[in-house]
Amino acid sequence: MAMRNTLSSYKLKIRLAIMPLLLVLLLSCWDTALGGTVEGVIFSDHGPVAESQVFAYPDYQSLVSKEAYVKSSPGEKDGQYKLELPPGNYYLTATGELSGQRLFSYHGINPITVADDYRWLPFFLSEEQEPVCINGEGQGLSGLVSYQGAALDHGVISVYKSQDGKFRGMGLFTNTIGADGRFRFNLEPGSYVVVARQKKAEAGIGPVLQGDLFCYPATNPVIIADEQLCELAIECYPRDNLEAYLTEDAVNPQGRRHESRRQASLWNIQPEAAQTAIVGKPTTITGRVTNLNGQPVADLVVTAYPAMGIDIFQMHILRLITENRARTDQQGQYRIQLPGGGLYYLQARQKIGEAPDRLEYYGLYEGNQNHAIRINPGENRSNINIPVSRIMPFSDLKERLTN
């Protein structure tokens, strides 16, 4: 018995000696997972804006109330900023001032996920302009969308409930913007967020890609009162296309291109995905899209929709906007690199940004009744094949309606 006590006491001493070491080890591991770095440059169309700042909010409500934010520290040159953030989702905005005019930018990929990684995010500022609300001329929102001082010639504009939080997809309403840049929505009293976009390639709306215009006014969200019509002036900027954005007399940031401490050039701003350092092995899905005769179908868009906690297939998931997508090649093959593991619903179709359309090639993944695959981080899932067919054939109804 005494010997067992001595042995126990000895073991206890060893444990006590090891514990601080384990604690140090644990804390050092903890430290490496504490978050990420976001850096970039804040531009107006005249070049980098000195003394401008980026604010990171944990949710959209905090952004609206301007609370609970993390403020950037200045970088080494005018317009540069740096943010150290714990892992999580953030809404990033930038503010600055030029010749007494307040400037603002809301990043088009908000909310931004910060993990244990590094991101380079440029901001493009535009002038803050208060809405002008009048009574007795209707109820809702109207306004002018412009780019580089001229009315935006066509695009789409969407209205979202403020609670939406992501402001992607078609929202409550989506309308086209005419050649005069004007828009109007009749709305119930409430709080709304307005976002306009102009896409260079695909029709309709979809993720804003490099060179596309993104337009989010500083005055979002806009409060519509009873019997009140609010007029907005909305300025656009091109995503990740500095060359198109700067005016002729802008301060040329090219001189900073070869900074030894920076991988990312100010001049050659790349799409967001390319700037994100992906830690570890990429998570990918590969497969083939074929028609019902087994022949490959080229040039379809395959999209992997993250389940976001919805583990049972629901149609509305396919209305969400995600950048997890790829086009099929001539052999019908596709490859999608995912931001991480999880459950993804898979769809292949010709069009994006609108509801499925008559005679469009369309298909869902049919490996299971949920049309989804679960993938681990760093995993590559191959042979995720999708059958497609041209949907909604014609019946005799059109003739019956005209007779």
Partner: protein, 317 residues
């Protein structure tokens, strides 16, 4: 004579026979003998399939894009109530990506209903025809206890001579090529609910009575193709696209017709019977611009002064 133990040389043919029998069973694509109920759990069926007799579904059963489901007259399809996402609606569902031909007869309708001993609305989700590439046919069917009895989305279908009762909604549809004719919608929370007027859709010769709301139109944010500006049209938007006529739409408890929030477009619904020949009585059961100036007008005149005799299910069920 030894009849009980076959020679070992017979084992392979017997095994092949057993596998053949198994593969020829209903879930794998052939017609099933009309005997005990067939229980189907979650699965995706990839080959043409014929159902008969009694089918019980627990979970989601999908008919794949390459397959057609044919259901013969008198077949009963019942859905077990499971509610994994706890949203108050049963998750069991029959989803058609391929095609469905469900054609009963007046004497032998096909039924889609709850498998519970005390059935209730929302015990199961719906029969959903989604992005189908075929022309689907529903005829002489009965839909009970669903969230929606039937949903048709981005597909072509005809729905005729069918009964929709005790559902949350009888039919829901969006962008479709759809004929809804000679059906009866009764005792649902909503008889017909739809989110698009772009058509082509025909809703004719139906009996829509004793629901909470007979017809409910709630456009989605993408209601109109090419995002048509609603308040510049100057005419009912459904003209030439959506024909709602020759129906008996009356005695629905809240409204015979309700235009939901955001429905700005004028709707032509002339030629229906509304339970009265008095305009004030008819107007009182229509929720549109007459009640809310932000909504579209419902043009219900001229209307039938008496019940339309040819409306409802043929054969007087």
């Amino acid at each position: 004579m030894n009849a009980s133990i076959p020679h070992s040389g017979y084992r392979l043919p017997l095994l092949i026979m057993a596998i053949t029998t198994l593969l020829s069973s209903q879930a794998f694509g052939q017609q099933r003998p009309n005997k005990s109920p067939l229980y189907l759990k979650e699965q995706l069926i990839r080959h043409d399939t014929t159902w008969s007799g009694e089918i019980i579904i627990e979970g989601v059963v999908v008919i794949g894009r390459a397959a057609t489901l044919t259901i013969i007259p008198g077949t009963s399809i019942r859905f077990k109530r499971i509610d994994r996402d706890q949203d108050g609606t049963g998750d069991s569902e029959l989803r058609i990506l391929g095609g469905i031909i469900a054609e009963g007869t007046a004497d032998q309708p096909i039924t889609f209903a709850s498998a519970e001993t005390k059935p209730a609305r929302r015990d199961w989700s719906y029969l959903l025809i989604y992005t189908s590439a075929k022309i689907n046919r529903i005829n002489f069917c009965e839909f009970r206890h669903g969230f929606s009895g039937l949903q048709v989305q981005f597909s072509t279908a005809s729905v005729r001579n069918s009964l929709f009762t005790d559902n949350n909604e009888g039919i829901r549809f969006g962008r479709t090529d759809l004929a809804i004719e000679n059906n009866r919608f009764t005792n649902n929370k909503i008889g017909i609910r739809f989110t698009r007027m772009e058509g082509p859709v025909i809703i004719r010769n139906n009996e829509i009575t004793n629901n909470r709301t007979g017809i409910f139109l709630v456009p989605s944010g993408q209601n109109i193709r090419d995002f048509f500006e609603p308040d510049r049209s100057g005419r009912p938007w459904n003209t030439g696209r959506l024909d709602i006529s020759n129906n008996n739409i009356y005695d629905n408890f809240a409204y015979n017709l309700n235009l939901g929030e955001k429905q700005f477009w004028d709707l032509d619904m002339a030629g229906n019977y509304w339970g009265s020949d008095n305009r004030e009585v008819i107007g009182a059961r229509i929720f549109a611009r007459n009640r809310d100036k932000s909504l579209g007008k419902v043009i219900y005149k001229p209307f039938a002064a008496k019940r339309i005799s040819g409306a409802g299910i043929k054969g007087n069920r």
